[in-house]
C-alpha cells in the first residue's frame, strides 16, 4: 500500500507518518529490522532532517527536499512495466548477475536462481531476513550509526526492504553483481532502501550499483548500505548515479572492516538533482586497506555533496581517498572528508585528496578536508585544490593543432580519468571511461541508453 502525505513541518509529520503506519512497517519485515525501529524513531525525533546548521551538512540543506507531497510505499508493489523490456545487458564482456530494485523494493521479476557460487545468498533483505534471522541478528544495524545523523535514524525506522548479499568463507564471486535501482511511477515518491552486504573471511565480490529514474516525477531516496568485510575479504563497490534533475538522493554506505580486508568504494555521479553520498569506514582490526574514490560531473543546477569519514581505530591500516569534480553551469559541489586516527593506531597511513575544476562563473565548490590525529607514528596528508584547466597544457595542445574545444575535452577527460582508472574491474572501467568521455562531449543525454546496465533510451527519462 502507498501512503501519500503533505509534508510541511518535516519532523512532526514524519513522526505522525511513522506512528500511523507502524503496523504496516512491522508487518512483513524481519524481527531484527523491527527491533531497531523504536529506538531509531527516537533518534529521528531528536535529530530531524539535517539543515545546513548541522556541521556535517553545512553545505547541503536537505530540509526543503523532504517537503512537499510525497508518496511512500509501505509494501512491495508490482511494477507495471516489464524490466526485461527496459533493460538489456548488451555488454558482452561485462558478465554479471543483475538484480533489480524498484522504488527501494526488491523486484519480483528478478530471476529466482542467479546461478551464484555455492553458499552465496542474494535477495530481498525482508525475505532472507526471515529465513536466516541469525545473519541479521549478528550484523544488521551494527555499522550504520543512527544516533548522529537524522537521515540514518529515519532510514532505520522506515526501511522495509533492500538487497541482501551474503558471501560465505573463501568464496570468490566470479562475475560482478549488478544492482539496478530504479525509481518509477506516476507520483512523487519518497523511498527508503536498506542493503546489507556480508563478506565472510577470504571471500571476494564486486558490486556495481546503477541508479536510475524512469519517469519524470520528483524522487527522494534515502538509502543505507551496510558492508561487513571480515578477515581477508575483498570487496569493490562501484556506484554509478545517472538520475534526472528532480531527484534527491542520500546514499550512505557504512563499512566495517576486519583484519587484512580490502575495500574499494567509488561513487561516480554523472547526473543527479541533489546527491549526497556518505561513506563511513571503520577499521576495527589491524592491516585493513580502504580506498574511497569519487567523481562528480555536474552541470545545470545540480548539487553533489560527498562526505567521507574514515575511522582508523586500529594500527597498521591504510586509507586513500581521491575525489575529483568538474562543475559546469550553476552547479554546486561540496566535499567533506574526515580522517580520524585514534590513540594507539600507530603506523597509520591516510591520504586524502580533493581536486575541483570550476568551468563557469556561477559554479561553486566548498571543500572541507579534515585530519584528526591522536597517534604520532603516522603518515597522513590531505590536499584540496580548486582551479581551472592548466594554461600551459592547453597551449601545448593548441600548438599541436588541437582545437580549443577538443583540447578542453581532452584535459577534462584526463582530469577525470585519475578516478576512473581506479576501477578494478576492467570491462566496467572501459564502459565508464566511454561514458565519461561522452559526457564531456555533450553526447551523453539522460535519454541515452545506459551503457553500463543497458537501460534503453526512453523519452520519459529525458529531463
Amino acid at each position: 500500500m502507498t501512503v501519500t502525505s503533505q509534508i510541511v513541518n518535516l519532523q512532526e509529520e514524519y513522526l505522525a507518518l511513522y506512528n500511523q503506519n507502524e503496523a504496516h512497517l512491522l508487518n512483513g519485515a524481519p524481527d531484527r529490522m523491527n527491533e531497531l525501529r523504536q529506538e531509531a524513531i527516537g533518534h529521528f525525533e531528536r535529530l530531524g532532517i539535517p539543515s545546513n546548521k548541522v556541521e556535517e551538512y553545512r553545505y547541503t540543506n536537505l530540509q526543503p527536499f523532504f517537503k512537499g507531497t510525497l508518496s511512500i510505499g509501505f509494501s512491495n508493489e508490482q511494477l507495471g512495466v516489464k524490466l526485461g523490456d527496459i533493460f538489456q545487458c548488451d555488454v558482452p564482456e561485462l558478465e554479471s548477475y543483475p538484480v533489480f530494485l524498484v522504488n527501494g523494493w526488491y523486484s519480483f521479476q528478478n530471476v529466482k536462481d542467479f546461478g551464484l557460487p555455492e553458499g552465496v545468498i542474494m535477495g530481498s533483505i525482508a525475505e532472507i531476513g526471515k529465513k536466516h534471522p541469525e545473519l541479521l541478528e549478528k550484523y544488521y544495524g551494527t555499522a550504520a550509526n543512527m544516533d548522529r545523523d537524522g537521515l540514518i535514524a529515519m532510514n532505520t525506522a522506515f526501511a522495509q526492504d533492500g538487497l541482501f548479499l551474503y558471501v560465505p568463507k573463501g568464496v570468490v564471486v566470479d562475475k560482478a553483481i549488478q544492482i539496478v535501482n530504479i525509481m518509477t511511477g506516476d507520483v512523487d515518491r519518497l523511498a527508503f532502501q536498506r542493503n546489507l552486504v556480508i563478506m565472510e573471511e577470504n571471500s571476494q565480490a564486486r558490486i556495481m550499483v546503477c541508479e536510475h529514474t524512469l519517469s519524470p516525477n520528483k524522487y527522494v531516496i534515502n538509502s543505507v548500505t551496510e558492508v561487513i568485510a571480515c578477515e581477508n575479504a575483498v570487496c569493490d563497490i562501484y556506484n554509478v548515479q545517472n538520475q534526472h534533475n528532480l531527484t534527491t538522493q542520500v546514499a550512505s554506505t557504512f563499512i566495517r572492516q576486519k583484519a587484512y580486508s580490502n575495500v574499494v568504494t567509488n561513487n561516480l555521479t554523472l547526473h543527479a538533482g541533489v546527491a549526497r553520498n556518505n561513506v563511513v569506514v571503520t577499521m576495527e582490526e589491524e592491516h585493513c586497506e580502504s580506498h574511497i574514490y569519487g567523481l562528480y560531473l555536474t552541470d545545470k543546477n545540480q548539487h553533489v555533496d560527498n562526505f567521507s569519514f574514515v575511522d582508523h581505530a586500529k594500527p597498521d591500516c591504510l586509507s586513500t581517498e581521491l575525489f575529483k569534480g568538474v562543475l559546469d553551469d550553476r552547479a554546486t559541489g561540496a566535499f567533506a572528508g574526515r580522517v580520524l586516527v585514534r590513540k594507539d593506531a600507530q603506523r597509520t597511513n591516510a591520504y586524502q585528496t580533493n581536486k575541483n575544476l570550476l568551468l563557469t562563473e556561477d559554479a561553486k565548490i566548498n571543500s572541507k578536508p579534515q585530519l584528526e590525529i591522536y597517534a604520532d607514528d603516522v603518515k597522513c596528508s590531505h590536499g584540496a585544490t580548486v582551479g581551472q584547466l592548466d594554461d600551459a597544457a592547453m597551449f601545448y595542445l593548441r600548438s599541436r593543432g588541437v582545437s580549443e574545444a577538443e583540447a578542453r575535452i581532452l584535459l577534462m577527460y584526463a582530469f577525470a580519468y585519475e578516478v576512473i582508472e581506479k576501477i578494478r574491474v576492467e570491462p566496467l572501467r572501459e564502459q565508464i571511461r566511454g561514458l565519461v568521455e561522452k559526457r564531456f562531449r555533450g553526447e551523453l543525454d539522460k535519454c541515452d541508453s545506459c551503457v553500463v546496465c543497458g537501460q534503453l533510451g526512453n523519452s520519459l527519462t529525458c529531463l
Binding site: 556541521e55 590513540k343 594507539d344 600507530q346 575541483n356 570550476l358 568551468l359 563557469t360 562563473e361 556561477d362 559554479a363 561553486k364 565548490i365 566548498n366 571543500s367 572541507k368 578536508p369 579534515q370 585530519l371 584528526e372 590525529i373 591522536y374 597517534a375 604520532d376 607514528d377 603516522v378 603518515k379 597522513c380 596528508s381 590531505h382 590536499g383 584540496a384 585544490t385 580548486v386 582551479g387 581551472q388
Partner: protein, 482 residues
C-alpha cells in the same frame, strides 16, 4: 634507542615557565562579576566620553543574548563570567612626566621580562606600550613618533585624545556582534594600543605592546586598533606573559587593523601566557579575535604568530581582502605541550579582484596536548583571479598528543586558484639517525629538526623577536621530544 629518545623528549619538553613570577604591587580592583553597573564603572574609571559608554553598553546587552561557542576542537571547562574581576590596575601616580615616576616595582617587573621601559637603554629602537592587567603603564618614544605624525598610545588615551578616529574605526573590522568573546571584550575592554600611521609615512621604528597579567582572579581584555593610511608601513609586535597560578585566568582580546591603499601592516605576536603546569592545572584561557581589512588597493596585511603559551588558545587572525590586488599572509607556529589545547588558524576572505593570500601553519604537539589548525579560505563571486596557497603541517612529539586540521574552502569564482596541503608526521627515526651518525646528539638533532621545521615562519619575525621565539620554542619543548 626509542627509550633514549623518549627520555630526551621528556627532558626537552619538561621545561619550566620562566615568567611565572608575581609582582607584589598595590592594585586597584573592582568587585567580581559582570553587570551593566560594572561596565559603567569601567567606563567612568577611564573617564571615557559618552559615545564609548554607549558602545560598551550596546555590546554588553548583545553579549547577554549570546552563548559561548562550542564548535572548536577544544575542551573548555565552564567559565563563570561572574567570578572574574573585570578591572584591575596597578596604583600609580596619575600622569607620568618622566621615567623616574614609574613605580620602581613596576619597572623592575618589565625589566625582569626583558622589556625596556627606559628609553635611554634601548638600543634596538623599539617603541613599547606596556600594559599591566587593565591599564597601560607606559608608552615609550611617543614624542619621537609624533614628529613623524605617527600616533602610538594606549587606547584609553586615544579615546580621549582622538575620539574622531576611534569613532570611525573602532568596531569597524570586528563589530561587537561578531562573536561571544568580541561582544564581551567590547563591553569591558580596559586598555591596549592605538596606532595611526598617516599618509605616506613609513614608521621609523618597530612598535611593540607588551601585555602582562599580574593580579589574581582577573581577566584581561585588551583592545588594539591599527590604522594605516595610504602608502604607509608599520611593523607591530605583541608579547604577553602571566604569573604562574593554579587558577585559570581569562584573556579575551580584539585586534583590528585597517589598511588603506598601498599600505602595509605587519603584525607579529609571540604569545607566551602561562600555559598551566604539567598536570594541566592553571593557565590562561586565550580567546582572541584578530582581524584586518585590506581596504585599499594594493594593500597588505601580514600576520605572524608564535603561540607557545596559554592553557587554551582560540584564535583566528583573519584578513578581509577587499581592495583589488590586496595581499594577506598568515604565518603561524603553534606549540602545545602537557595539557595545552590550541585551536588556531586563519581566515582569508577574498572580495577584491586579483587578491592573493598565503597561509603557512606549523603545529607542534607534545605531551598530552591537542593542537588544531582551523582555517577558512573564501573566494566570493566577484573576486576574480584570487589566488591562495595554504600549507598546514603538524609535527607530533609523543604518542599521547593530537594534531588536527580543519580547513574550509568555499570557492564561488571559477578564476580562483586555491590549494591546500596538510601533512602530519613525527620526527623520522631516519632523520635522527642521520644526525647521530654525524655526531649530533639525539637531543640536539631534535632541536635542529624542529628549528628547521619552523624556520619558514620564524624568518618572518623581526630579528629580536625571532631570537626570542627560537628560545621560547626550546623552552616550550624542553623535555618532550620522543
Amino acid at each position: 634507542m626509542a627509550d633514549d629518545q623518549n627520555k630526551i623528549l621528556d627532558e626537552v619538553t619538561g621545561g619550566e615557565y620562566k615568567y611565572g613570577f608575581h609582582t607584589d604591587i598595590e592594585t586597584e580592583m573592582i568587585p567580581k562579576g559582570l553587570s551593566e553597573e560594572v561596565v559603567r564603572m569601567i567606563s567612568a574609571k577611564k573617564g571615557e566620553p559618552e559615545f564609548m559608554l554607549e558602545y560598551r553598553l550596546k555590546a554588553f546587552r548583545h553579549w547577554q543574548t549570546l552563548k559561548a561557542p562550542d564548535w572548536a576542537h577544544l575542551n573548555i571547562p565552564e567559565i563563570d563570567y561572574q567570578d572574574i574581576i573585570y578591572y584591575a590596575a596597578p596604583v600609580q601616580k596619575p600622569q607620568l612626566e618622566s621615567m623616574d615616576e614609574v613605580d620602581p616595582e613596576l619597572k623592575a617587573t618589565f625589566d625582569k621580562l626583558g622589556i625596556p621601559l627606559d628609553e635611554q637603554k634601548v638600543l634596538s629602537g623599539v617603541a613599547v606600550d606596556a600594559v599591566m592587567d587593565s591599564i597601560s603603564v607606559k608608552t615609550t618614544f611617543r614624542e619621537t613618533l609624533a614628529e613623524h605624525g605617527v600616533i602610538f598610545c594606549s587606547i584609553s588615551d586615544a579615546v580621549k585624545e582622538y575620539p574622531d578616529l576611534i569613532k570611525k574605526y573602532l568596531g569597524s573590522v570586528v563589530p561587537y556582534s561578531d562573536n561571544f568573546f568580541a561582544a564581551l571584550n567590547s563591553a569591558v575592554f580596559s586598555d591596549g594600543s592605538f596606532v595611526f600611521i598617516p599618509k605616506g609615512v613609513r614608521c621609523p621604528m618597530e612598535l611593540s605592546t607588551y601585555f602582562r597579567i599580574n593580579a589574581m582572579n582577573t581577566g584581561q581584555f585588551e583592545r588594539t586598533l591599527i590604522v594605516a593610511e595610504d602608502d604607509s608601513y608599520v611593523s607591530y609586535l605583541e608579547g604577553c606573559t602571566a604569573p604562574q597560578r593554579d587558577e585559570n585566568q581569562l584573556h579575551a582580546a580584539i585586534v583590528e587593523i585597517v589598511v588603506h591603499d598601498r599600505a602595509e601592516v605587519k603584525y607579529s605576536t609571540v604569545q607566551n601566557w602561562y600555559p598551566g603546569d604539567k598536570d594541566g592545572k592553571g593557565g590562561i584561557y586565550n580567546f582572541v579575535t584578530k582581524r584586518g581589512i585590506c581596504k585599499g588597493d594594493y594593500s597588505k596585511i601580514s600576520w605572524t604568530q608564535v603561540e607557545t603559551g596559554s592553557a587554551i588558545t582560540w584564535k583566528y587572525p583573519s584578513c578581509v581582502l577587499m581592495g583589488d590586488h590586496s595581499v594577506g599572509e598568515f604565518y603561524s607556529v603553534a606549540v602545545t605541550n602537557n595539557y595545552q589545547q590550541a585551536d588556531t588558524g586563519s581566515k582569508m576572505i577574498h572580495l577584491g579582484k586579483n587578491t592573493r593570500s598565503l597561509i603557512v601553519s606549523k603545529g607542534i604537539s607534545a605531551g598530552k596536548s591537542q593542537n588544531s589548525y582551523r582555517g577558512l579560505v573564501k573566494v566570493s563571486k566577484k573576486a576574480a583571479n584570487a589566488r591562495n596557497f595554504s600549507q598546514c603541517d603538524s609535527l607530533l612529539l609523543g604518542d599521547r598528543c593530537g594534531a588536527h586540521t580543519f580547513p574550509y574552502l568555499e570557492i564561488s569564482n571559477n578564476s580562483a586558484l586555491v590549494e591546500h596541503e596538510a601533512t602530519t608526521s613525527k620526527i623520522g627515526e631516519d632523520q635522527i639517525f642521520y644526525c647521530n651518525q654525524r655526531g649530533i646528539s639525539t637531543e640536539d638533532a631534535i632541536g635542529l629538526i624542529v628549528n628547521g621545521y619552523v624556520k619558514e615562519v620564524i624568518n618572518q619575525l623581526p630579528m629580536e623577536f625571532a631570537v626570542e621565539a627560537q628560545k621560547l620554542l626550546q623552552i616550550s619543548l624542553e623535555g618532550s621530544v620522543g
